[in-house]
Symmetry: C2
Subunit: 219 residues, 2 copies
């Protein structure tokens, strides 16, 4: 097959990748109230707005003041990212990671189905149990399942190794808002840096956006 | 390492996976006005709301009346899904596909960087050019890049093979809304079944949700 040719232009649109980013971020900064976001997390909020197309996301966004320092420091020290969903892992731009960090999602581990049955919980939650000692100093990213976030918090209550930071943005109608309230309460009580979006909104895309902004300061 | 035990329950939440789905879909149906959605696409709209946590998504959702029949029929006949982003491909639940259909994203193809340079466009758009004859009868799913959707439409204007249906939900502030208006205009003018969400909202998660609902009727 010969290499394809570019078809004739029919539409007027910006096709320069870097220019699209620059214009997007400028539009977001012009339209979004970022005053309640910690100064060192401003680019994290901007990238999350970018990934969702919603400037009012910041109304429900809560970023712990220690989040960027803790999570970026962990990645720069080589810590892994532990994700609840393959989509979250897939959304991490590998070129932005400072140490070619491992990005691990264990939902497909062969132990998970039986573990979920024996625990009486979801596969997402069971997969969190398999993180084990890898939790110590890791950056946790939960962007899908409220049960995974609740399970993580129960493991931490029970003495599991402490991660460096938790990005917790599960989405949906059953348990999502409650799981994120629980994360904020736990993080505030135990000085565990966290990022969350209260309410029903969330998901793998905005979680990956947060990770990509945390991974390096350059936009 | 011994198999992990379930930690003590500290929170009151539903941990039964199927029950979470049932309750979620019931909540969505109670709270969402689905009257403008084609009857055979009701479950598609519900699953997209589920994936985003936003009932008002339906206000901007447009589903062509022929979309579900065309796209599901194509998948049942073994057609591939062609995606613009790895996250979209990653979000397709393989167990829901009727024919173990191929799910293809070519953004990582080694030809893409040079093609993008020579075209003067984004890598997402260049990767669309590599779909070639695989476009014929395929289900196209664009959930990230407006430039990919514009490029696809320019290929179709230029005589490229016709897909069975186009799910077009790129997200963002620069070109996204315009690309989706162009898709709707093209689809209406050329009787090409499409699904889109007007405005800035979009993304890989809602695109994957749409695909997962189209793949089979069972919730």
């Amino acid at each position: 097959m010969p290499p394809p040719a570019r078809p004739p232009r029919r539409y007027d649109y910006i096709d320069d990748g870097p220019a699209i980013y620059v214009d997007s971020f400028a539009t977001i900064r012009a339209e979004t109230d970022l005053s309640r976001v910690p100064a060192d997390a401003e680019k994290v909020a901007v990238r999350m707005v970018h990934g969702t197309g919603q400037t009012d996301l910041v109304d429900e966004l809560v970023i712990h003041p220690g989040l960027v320092t803790a999570a970026r420091g962990a990645l720069e020290a080589g810590a892994p990212i532990l994700a609840d969903a393959n989509m979250v892992a897939s959304g991490v731009t590998r070129a932005r990671l400072p140490r070619d960090n491992e990005v691990l999602c264990l939902i497909g581990d062969p132990l998970v189905p039986e573990l979920a049955r024996s625990f009486g919980t979801t596969r997402s939650a069971a997969a969190v149990s398999l993180w084990g000692d890898r939790l110590a100093g890791a950056v946790v990213a939960i962007g899908n399942a409220p049960t995974a976030l609740f399970h993580l918090l129960e493991l931490l209550h029970d003495g599991a190794p402490r991660p460096a930071a938790v990005i917790g943005c599960p989405v949906g109608f059953i348990g999502a808002a409650e799981s994120k309230q629980a994360l904020a309460a736990f993080g505030d009580a135990h000085a565990l840096p966290y990022l969350t979006v209260h309410g029903r909104r969330g998901g793998s895309a905005m979680t990956a956006s947060a990770l990509n902004a945390i991974a390096q300061d350059a936009e």
